[in-house]
Symmetry: C2
């Protein structure tokens, strides 16, 4: 179990609500789904903020379309990283999924882009 | 906006599913609710892990009973802190709630105690 952390440790981590706009399997990968996710309007740019997210959750969603329209929690300030030649620009939060454990995302009705507090 | 963080920064923060067992207003406080939350069975102790959580979300729940039975995301490794003379042993994650923004928790169907990954 992790040690106790401070509020400052927690504040470093940006958790935001994102709305899944599209979800599809990636050719050549059994694990990854490619999501397009809305984080609302960026205050900095005034533009809609959409990000590409790669996530190894394919086996939990036989039909990725069931993800479209869901608003769920993402970690939005990890450095972008490449997977299968594609850039992942956030990390979807999930729990469970080992063995018989139920797998689940963290759903919210907060506005896309809202930061968890 | 926070700087980019590393996976190690993220791993410091323990986010877990908890099931709300009870929720009540606190006499003398307009802001705080007192929750009893199950985090399943502790691997370390073999016992049911229940924690008391104080949270300033009272104004969003005119009937706190509507929270009972919900499984939502908590930060579970902040140092415990005292509020109104009561110890809060985790922090409930929420988003929105400023002005007209919708307020929401992050709901999950993962087993109580499951750690987000």
């Amino acid at each position: 179990m992790p040690e106790h952390i401070s509020i400052d440790d927690l504040k470093k981590v940006e958790i935001r609500a994102g709305e899944i706009l599209s979800a599809e399997k990636i050719e050549g990968s059994e694990k990854l789904l490619k999501l397009k996710v809305s984080f609302g309007f960026s205050i900095e740019t005034g533009k809609a903020e959409e990000r590409q997210v790669l996530s190894g959750i394919s086996k939990y969603f036989s039909d990725p379309q069931t993800l479209v329209g869901k608003r769920v929690a993402f970690i939005t300030n990890l450095a972008p990283r490449m997977m299968m030649g594609l850039e992942s620009q956030a990390m979807i939060l999930a729990a469970g999924g080992d063995g018989d454990e139920p797998f689940s995302l963290f759903e919210t009705t907060a506005a896309p882009g809202s930061r968890a507090h």
